[in-house]
């Protein structure tokens, strides 16, 4: 690992520690549950970032994932029931995104190995679908449903061209 990358991880870790400490001070002063969860979150993320260069990547990322889990929990605690139904929806969309993205990456690896034009189209199609699902996670806020669905439709059309092309071949 280069010295510059090491430095970046260290700076990110220190920033996270500073945020965690500030959140901990807020927790100690006001006994705020959201601040307690935030401080745990930032300390875990900091540990993950700082340990990243010296431990197997899985440990670093696991700590960061645990940290972001606590950050999400602090938001859950903060928003109360107002947006409660929104949370499982985002979780399901995120899982869908993960699986499509995984399929796209696997297809891309296959493309690099086999170097076939048809696989390129499938890869593009899966990335498009993944992108549209990613946008759907946020479409309540700023992305038009028409734009998202258009991207997804294009992805499915590309997948269909694969099928049609093979059927007629």
């Amino acid at each position: 690992m280069s010295a510059l990358l090491l430095l970046i991880y260290l700076i990110e870790g220190l920033i996270s520690i500073a945020l965690g400490t500030y959140a901990f001070m807020a927790f100690r002063t006001f006994k705020s549950v959201t601040m307690r969860l935030s401080s745990i979150a930032f300390y875990l993320v900091a540990a993950g970032l700082i340990l990243m260069p010296v431990t197997p990547e899985l440990i670093g990322y696991s700590l960061q994932a645990a940290g972001y889990f606590f950050l999400a929990m602090s938001h859950l605690k903060s928003v109360k029931q107002a947006y409660f139904l929104f949370i499982p929806l985002v979780a399901v969309k995120s899982i869908a995104f993960f699986f499509v993205f995984y399929a796209a990456v696997e297809t891309m690896i296959f493309l690099f190995q086999e170097k076939k034009a048809t696989t390129l189209i499938t890869t593009l199609a899966l990335y498009l679908i993944a992108a549209s699902i990613y946008l759907q996670i946020f479409n309540l806020f700023f992305v038009s449903a028409m734009v998202v669905q258009s991207a997804q439709l294009l992805g499915f059309v590309l997948l269909l061209t694969q099928f049609v092309g093979r059927y007629h071949a």
Partner: protein, 91 residues
């Protein structure tokens, strides 16, 4: 109506008292802090017990005055509230 945590409600009451030159009666507190009597009354008793507010009996009326501890609490709250809001959270 936006959800307010207990801490935010306390800060709203202290803020309201500060804006009202430090003291006010229960009716004004209820109106300005948007609280029903059933919540405002035990809350003010709690703030008095914690030393954040002082109860002064002025004839028939009871006046609540923010204390030095209450002002310090409010100052600290505002400082940390900015941080929490920056994270999209409530204290």
């Amino acid at each position: 109506m936006k959800y307010r945590s207990q801490l935010t409600i306390i800060a709203d009451v202290l803020n309201m008292l500060t804006d009202a030159a430090g003291s006010s009666n229960i009716t004004t507190i209820m109106q300005k802090a948007n609280l029903p009597y059933t919540r405002a009354s035990p809350l003010m008793a709690e703030l008095v017990e914690k030393g954040l507010v002082e109860r002064v009996n002025n004839g028939d009326a009871t006046i609540f005055t923010i204390t030095k501890k209450g002002s310090d609490f409010l100052k600290e709250f505002k400082r940390f509230e900015m941080f929490a809001e920056g994270l999209g959270l409530q204290l």
